[in-house]
């Protein structure tokens, strides 16, 4: 069974930050402890269906979310409102759409984005899936790409149990 690489998603995050946010995002080994990154979080979530199923999320501390949307939109929002939430949803939509184009050989549909906020310390995975968290840092703050993917074979006879691969 061919595994689904998460590299297209990592590349898509970096492309989106380079081009639309205007600040490069670089991978880091681990996020700082939660107390150092100004919880609560703002998380943009989008679902994948088709030959690769799963969830893709971008998880930002509030301060990073504000800085990212301000940089992207040339704005000066000082609190999380409908426009900032819309921006986080659009960013996860752009990243997922960009990654979808890089996942060759798959037919994938993506859902409308959802944005959740709060002191969320842990994301739990469903059966047959595993969460992968890829931390990033930029001059605007730290954040992470969080995803779980499950490849579905065309004839539905078998579902990959370990369908995630990182570089």
């Amino acid at each position: 069974m061919e595994k689904i690489s998460i590299n297209p998603f990592i590349d898509a995050v970096q492309e989106a930050f380079d081009s639309m946010v205007g600040y490069p995002a670089n991978r880091i080994e681990a996020l700082p402890a939660p107390s150092q990154v100004h919880l609560p979080d703002l998380i943009g979530v989008i679902g994948l269906s088709g030959t690769a199923q799963g969830v893709v999320a971008l998880r930002f501390p509030m301060t990073t979310a504000l800085a990212v949307i301000n940089a992207m939109a040339g704005a000066s929002f000082d609190k999380v409102d409908a426009a900032v939430i819309d921006g986080i949803g659009e960013l996860v939509n752009i990243v997922t759409g960009c990654a979808k184009g890089k996942l060759k050989g798959h037919t994938i549909s993506i859902s409308l984005p959802t944005v959740v906020s709060g002191d969320i310390c842990r994301l739990s995975n469903a059966k047959d899936t595993v969460w992968v968290e890829v931390p990033f840092e930029s001059k605007l703050g730290v954040f992470s790409l969080v995803l779980t993917l499950k490849q579905v074979v065309a004839n539905r006879q078998e579902v990959a149990r370990e369908g995630v691969n990182s570089r």
């Binding site: 639309m20 939109a73 426009a83 921006g87």
Partner: protein, 123 residues
């Protein structure tokens, strides 16, 4: 030159407005979806450029484009979307899109690409 931005994301509309203003386009209408775009186009004949997202509620960009082309073959319509698959691009061009821009984009690259439509006054 008057432009119409059709996108359900207010942040994306704000980014595109900023690009258009840099190019000297200050007369800009914004709507949330394709149906609203058709309503505006019916009433406002001065619009000379449409920037159209693909995935929107109520009416998608591709449906909107097909509706526009039933009555107006000349109006420049540029798709601005995350839909990067070749089939989608071909579908849009066949339906009458003049150009196709992928998100994520660099605003300066968008400006460069739109310049030909802006300089021709939407012809």
């Amino acid at each position: 030159m008057k432009a119409l931005i059709v996108d359900d994301s207010q942040i994306m509309r704000r980014i595109i407005v900023s690009v258009l203003k840099k190019a000297g386009v200050n007369d800009i209408s914004e709507v949330n979806n394709g149906q609203e775009a058709l309503d505006v186009l019916k009433q406002d004949k001065d619009i000379g450029l449409v920037l159209l997202d693909w995935n929107m509620p109520v009416m998608t960009g591709i449906e909107t484009l097909k509706h526009i082309r039933t009555t107006n073959k000349q109006l420049p319509v540029v798709m601005v979307t995350t839909e990067s698959e070749k089939e989608r691009v071909v579908e849009a061009i066949k339906a009458g899109a003049n150009d196709y821009m992928l998100k994520p984009f660099n605003p300066d690259d968008v400006l460069e690409k739109l310049r030909k439509y802006l300089e021709s006054g939407g012809k």
